[in-house]
Amino acid sequence: MKGSVHQFDVSALIERWRRFWFEEIPPHPFALLRILMGTLGLLGLLGLTPISMFWTLDGLTPIAGGGLGLKSTLIRYGLGSLTGELLFATLFAGFAAMTVGYKSGLAVAIGFMGSVFQIRWNRLPLSSAHQVLTSVLFCLVWADTGAVWSLDRWLERRRRPAAADEPPPTQPIWPLQMIRYQIALIYLNSGLWKLFGPMWREGSALHYALNLNAFRRFAHVLPPQLEWAATLGTYVTLFWEIGFAFMVLHPKTRRVALVLGVLFHLGLFLTLELGPFSWVMIASYVAFVDPYRVSRWFSWAREKPIAATAAPESV
């Protein structure tokens, strides 16, 4: 009797695990993330122009050491600047193909590998936005991102008209769960770093961040009468970041976490110039939206939405 109860528990646990990672979902969230990350990748590349500034060896690029790495080898053979230019062109082609969904799987792989190589090539101009983009691309590599809303799909329909009547194939949810975990980890880690910083504990962090001359968007600083807002904002940011990982576990609190997140990142965008960081973070929130709901968005795109069987309740 005892043994059968034990067995039942284990199999229930395995079933929960299976549903959590391998439940079949519509491919639309993956497609939307591909489009958004491709667009933001392109935007990031535009920010990294002119090419002579960040990609060639006589630009703002670290002095190459003598090591045995790929970069050193390329430089030794006189291919340094050419490699930088080729990397830019490859990434541009990869992100453009991702955005339109042409050879989607390959495009995402190129975007990911190029982004990793870019960190090794020249990490100087790269902010957390690049790190988030790379992390999301790593997860997207394992998904079929071109099943809908893509040139691939359109070409498939042209080649095989019968494909137009077929619903897009479903996919296991695990790459999406990986993105959710990664984003939650980013906020938790960032929140804890902040908690360990004295300025966040004494409520002055936002005051100093908003006054930094290298970031602030407007010439005028916050008047002393509004200091309370900066102090309140400091604590709200701190607790929201630490709480994000826990709030996304339940559908109701998840909504609050995401709305606060959008407001927080829009606030950052309006007050500080942080490159594409705010947009990359907001784009990553697509991973937290019910995949069936995402499949109903953009109905004009002529993709058949998939009827929900059991929408995932928790992350």
Partner: protein, 271 residues
């Protein structure tokens, strides 16, 4: 579960464990968490600080225990995150500077027919402080980030995480090369756009500037603001040339004051 699902499950578990462990930072004496002076001037801060202070100290101690427990597998985790580019360092704005940050580059120019002269240009922030940052500042943010990373790498490599006595006779070859890209890139740009054919740069210096940000609830006096503004406006007009007197060199890590901006010579190269 199918065989493929079991394999994927194992790989997923390893991946998630690796990125979670990578997110736990190494203990660093420079980032010690200690009780702080509880502010009394601000009601919200006066209420919240005593609450979050002990919480931070407790969580930090748990983090340190986790770090020690996972020490044996750290090299494996580091290899994985390095290869995949999935480093988990998300300390954005955890310790925002309490001063405004500037960089200027000074060039010493020599020619066979004229005395050596200097030119100094402000290179960071890329954007003027008195204008709203719009479309162009998106691109500028990447250039500004390059200064941020280059300088923090330079200071870490030079000081090994501890403030130390810096020898004024330090030679360029004794300095880390993290600020070299800045000296060389702007030096090249200056040479190509400003110098005559017989002129050449014989020395390039990178100066780091700081100016105070008043603490919460306080403001800079209009006089101090005007003085800083005047200094910055001179730089905005283009490289400031000094041809009147023989170029005198500041000893390494020497400081000079312009209004409330303190400039420190952090890096130099001689050609």
């Amino acid at each position: 579960m199918s065989k493929s699902q079991i394999v994927i499950s194992l790989l997923l578990t390893a991946h998630l464990a690796a990125i979670t462990l990578a997110a736990i930072p190494a203990p660093d004496p420079a980032f010690k968490v200690e009780p702080i002076q509880h502010p009394t001037s601000n009601d919200i801060a006066a209420t919240m600080t005593p609450l979050v202070d002990p919480l931070a100290i407790r969580i930090k101690s748990v983090e340190q225990v986790l770090w020690k427990l996972t020490l044996p597998i750290r090299p494996l985790v580091a290899s994985y995150t390095n290869i995949t580019g999935l480093q988990q360092y998300w300390a954005m704005f955890s310790r925002p500077p309490s001063s405004e940050q500037y960089f200027r580059v000074r060039y010493y120019v020599a020619s066979p027919s004229r005395r050596t002269w200097t030119a100094t240009e402000l290179v960071h922030p890329t954007h003027r402080h008195d204008r709203v940052r719009l479309l162009r500042s998106f691109r500028d943010s990447y250039e500004d980030k390059a200064f941020d990373i280059a300088f923090s790498s330079f200071v870490t490599a030079r000081d090994h995480g501890k403030p130390r006595e810096i020898d004024p006779a330090t030679r360029p070859e004794q300095l880390p090369d993290d600020l070299a890209p800045i000296a060389r890139y702007y030096g090249r740009r200056f040479r190509e756009t400003q110098l005559l054919s017989d002129e050449r740069i014989i020395r390039t210096e990178v100066w780091h500037g700081t100016a105070p940000i008043p603490p919460p609830g306080e403001q800079l006096s209009p006089v101090a603001l005007d003085a800083r503004d005047t200094v910055l406006q001179r730089y905005y007009a283009g490289p400031i040339e000094d041809r009147a007197r023989d170029a005198t060199k500041t000893p390494y890590h020497g400081a000079v004051q312009e209004a409330d901006i303190t400039w420190v010579l952090e890096y130099y190269e001689e050609q």
